[in-house]
Symmetry: none
Subunit: 423 residues, 2 copies
C-alpha cells in the first residue's frame, strides 16, 4: 500500500464558537502543529469552525478531498452544542453505536457526591462502529481514530488542552508513528535553557541551524528557550547516535545556560540537585505571591526537599511572620536589597531549611515609582555558603502576570546556578 502521505499531509480543524468569538486563544493548534513537526508529519493547513453542524460538514468534506489525516479538537462534550462525532458520522452515513465500556468508565469518573447521574453524559459513549476509541484517562470525552473512506482518517480530541495532550501522547502518537513511515524512525530531544534570550542563543548556534539531519530548531517561552534536536534514521539506535554529537556540541557552546532536557523543568532540576545533596529548601516571596512555591510543588515528590514557603505579601506579614524589623522596611523600602536579604535569612530560620529563595519587587500595574519602577525585582538566596542578592529590571511595559512568571523563573535559575557552581 502507498504510505507516501507527504502528498496530502495532515490537517488540523479546531471546532468551537469560542474560538470564532476570540474568547480563547487556539493553544491546541499550536501544540498539535509542534507535535506534528517533531514526528516529521507534513502539515499544510489549519482551520477553525464554530459549533455549527452544516459548516462543520462542509469543512470535513473539503478536508477529505485533499488530506490523508484530519485531526479535530473540540465538540466532544456532553451538551447539545457538542456535535463533532455525530456530524462526522453523518457525513459518511455511518450509524452510531454505544460502547458500554465507556459508560462504566464515565460512571467511575463522576463525583460520588453528585446527586444522580446526568443522562447527557451518555451522549459521549456513541461512536461509529468501526472507529478505534482514544481513551481519555482524565475526563469523560473519549476521542476516536476512524477511517471512513479509503486514504482518509479522522482523529478526534476534546478541546480541553490537558485532556488532549495526554490522549495525544498515549494513543495518537504511537498510531501516527506507525502510520508515518516504517522505513524511518524520527527521534527528537529537547534541550532547555534559561538566562539567555532566543536571539542570543540562536546566534551562538547559528552554524548548526541549517543542519539537515539532525535538524535543530529554537523555540522561545516565558523566561526560557528550547532547542529541539530531531534525527531521522533507520532505527532508534542510529537516530540516537546522530543526536549525541550534536547535543555534546551544543552543550559545549552554551555551558550552564542549558538546565535540562525533555520534560525536565527548572523546579524539577533544582529539587533533584538538592535531593542528591540531602538538603532542604524554603521560600519567602512577596511580589511573586506564592508562584515560586506553586511552581516547586507542581513537581511530584517535591516534599522531599521543599519544606514550606512564606508568602509575605504585606509589610505586616513581613514583620509578623519573618520578623523583619519595621525600621529596615521604613528605611530601605520593602523592595530593596536589605529587606530581601533579611527575608532570605529569616526564611532559613523560620522554616528550618538549608536553602532559601527570597523575592520582593513591583509586579504592577500600580505601585511603581521613579526609583522603583514596575518590573524592578530584588532576589536573595541564602544557604550553607552565606547569602547573595541580585536585582532584575523586567521592564514596565510587561504585564503583571508576566513579571511574576519571569521572577519565578529567575529565582529558581539563580539557585540552580549556585548549585552548579558547587557553592
Amino acid at each position: 500500500m502507498n504510505k507516501n502521505i507527504s502528498k496530502n499531509g495532515v490537517e488540523i480543524l479546531c471546532i468551537g464558537t469560542e474560538l470564532l468569538l476570540g474568547n480563547i486563544i487556539n493553544s491546541n493548534a499550536k501544540y498539535l502543529a509542534e507535535e506534528l513537526a517533531s514526528i516529521g508529519l507534513p502539515h499544510y493547513r489549519q482551520s477553525v469552525v464554530g459549533d455549527n453542524s452544516k459548516r462543520l460538514k462542509e469543512m470535513v468534506l473539503e478536508a477529505s478531498k485533499r488530506s490523508r489525516i484530519l485531526i479535530t479538537t473540540g465538540g466532544l462534550g456532553p451538551t447539545p452544542d457538542d456535535l463533532t462525532t455525530e456530524t462526522i458520522a453523518s457525513i459518511f452515513k455511518s450509524p452510531l453505536k454505544a460502547r458500554p465500556e465507556l459508560w462504566e468508565d464515565i460512571k467511575k469518573k463522576l463525583s460520588p457526591n453528585e446527586k444522580g447521574m446526568p443522562l447527557s453524559n451518555q451522549k459521549q459513549i456513541f461512536f461509529p462502529e468501526k472507529a478505534t476509541i482514544i481513551p481519555n484517562p482524565t475526563g469523560t470525552a473519549a476521542g476516536m481514530i476512524w477511517t471512513p473512506i479509503n486514504q482518509f482518517t479522522i482523529i478526534t480530541f476534546p478541546g480541553v488542552p490537558s485532556e488532549l495532550k495526554r490522549m495525544w501522547q498515549e494513543t495518537a502518537i504511537p498510531w501516527l508513528r506507525n502510520y508515518a513511515d516504517n522505513q524511518h524512525t524520527i527521534v527528537s530531544k529537547i534541550l532547555r535553557f534559561s538566562g539567555i534570550k532566543e536571539s542570543t542563543l540562536a546566534e551562538q548556534v547559528a552554524d548548526l541551524l541549517t543542519n539537515e539531519n539532525p535538524t535543530l530548531a529554537p523555540y522561545a517561552g516565558t523566561g526560557e528557550v528550547k532547542l529541539r534536536l530531531t534525527a531521522r534514521a533507520k532505527n532508534t539506535e542510529e537516530a540516537l547516535s546522530l543526536l549525541r554529537p550534536l547535543e555534546a556540541n551544543l552543550r559545549k557552546k552554551t555551558g550552564s545556560y542549558c538546565y535540562g532536557v525533555d520534560h525536565e523543568t527548572l523546579a524539577s532540576v533544582v529539587i533533584n540537585q538538592l535531593r542528591q545533596r540531602g538538603e532542604t529548601l524554603g521560600i519567602a516571596e512577596s511580589c511573586t505571591g506564592g508562584g515560586i512555591c506553586a511552581t516547586l510543588t507542581e513537581t511530584p515528590g517535591a516534599s522531599d526537599v521543599f519544606l514550606g514557603g512564606l508568602v509575605v505579601y504585606s509589610n505586616l506579614s513581613k514583620q509578623k511572620i519573618l520578623g523583619i524589623p519595621s525600621e529596615l522596611i521604613n528605611k530601605h523600602g520593602a523592595v530593596s536589597e536589605h529587606v530581601v536579604k533579611a527575608m532570605a535569612n529569616a526564611a532559613l530560620q523560620k522554616l528550618h531549611v538549608d536553602w532559601s529563595i527570597a523575592v520582593s519587587g513591583v509586579a504592577g500595574p500600580g505601585g511603581g515609582t521613579k526609583t522603583k519602577p514596575v518590573g524592578l525585582v530584588h532576589f536573595a538566596i541564602a544557604g550553607p555558603f552565606g547569602c547573595e542578592s541580585f536585582v532584575e529590571r523586567f521592564g514596565a511595559h510587561r504585564e503583571r502576570i508576566a513579571i511574576q512568571k519571569l521572577s519565578v523563573v529567575r529565582g529558581l535559575d539563580y539557585l540552580r546556578l549556585l548549585l552548579v557552581r558547587g557553592v
Copy 2:
C-alpha cells in the same frame, strides 16, 4: 459555482510557516476574532497556511467564493518568503504599482545608522492599482483594503501583533464599521459558574440552549463552567435588551453557582467582596503548595485584602510555622478535618487577618492510602463567623496538577459562597 450558497461573513487567513510548525501561537486570530465579534460582523471560519504561493492562492480563491471579506495576516515583510501581496494580485490578474509616498515613509523609518538602504524593502511599496493603503505607523509593512471582484474585499495586515493592532484600530475599524452599517450588531456576555459540572448546568438550562436569538452556549474549564449569551440586533441597545431577560432567567435557575461575568475570576470576585466589607484574607495551604496565594495575587490590587500565606508543605512547617501540635497530626494525620481546622484558625492569628482558607490533601501521584486516597482534600474556612470544614474527593484518576488546580478553585469558591450567604 453553486448559486444556492450565498456569500456572507468575514473570514480570517493567517499566513506563516512558523504557525504550521507550532513555533508561535496564533494570537492575531484571537485578537481579530474578538474585534469582529465586538463590532458585530459575522465570522465563521479561520485558516492558517504556510509561506507557500500555490497553497495561498488556493485558499484565497476558496474564500472569494464563500465570504464577503477576507482578512489576512503575515507575509508583508521584505524577505523572499513574504508572498502575500503579489500572490493575491496574481490571482485576480492585477498588475502591481509602486507607491512612491510609501518609499518616503520607509526611508524615514529605517535606522539612520544603517549602512545604505536595503533594496529588499522596496518590495513593500508595490500594491494593486485600485487598493487603498492601510498605513503602518510603527513599521515598514503597509497593508491594503482591496475589492478585486464584486462582493469580495481583501484586507491585509503584517504578522507583527503590535503593528497589526494599531493598523486595525486606526484604519480597518472605521472602514468596517461603515461597511457593517447595514448589518446586524452582535453583543455577547459570559456568565461564569463554579461548583457545578458542565453537564449538570446544561441540564438545568436545557430549555434555553435551543434559543435562536439570543443564543446560549456552555463551555467547560478546570473547575469552572461558562455560559456565553449572544444577541443579534439592529444596534447595541436592542441587543442588550435581548440579553437582559435571558441573564435574569439564567441567574434565577442557577442561583449562587454563578460567580461572575465576562473577565471576572473567582479570585477577583472574592477580593472585591472582602474589600467592600473592609476585611482581610490569609491562606494556610499544604497540597495546593502556594497555588491559592498565587491565584489571588494574579489580581491587580490583591494587596488591599490578601496579607499573606503560609505554605506549610511538611509536618515540620505545620508545627513550626502554624504551631499545630504534633500530637494532633500524629493522631488524625495531616490530611484530616482536625488538622485543617487547626490550620485555618492558626492562620487567622499568625497573619492577623479576618478570614482564612486552609487546605490539606493528597495531590498524588504518590502518598495515597486506602483510607486517604489520591484526590482526597480537606478544606477549612475560618472567619468572623467561626470555622467550617468540608472534604472533597476529586478522584485518583486525575493528575497532580489538576487536583491542585481544582482544590484552589474549590477553596476560593467555598469562601465566596460563605460571603454570599452573608455569614
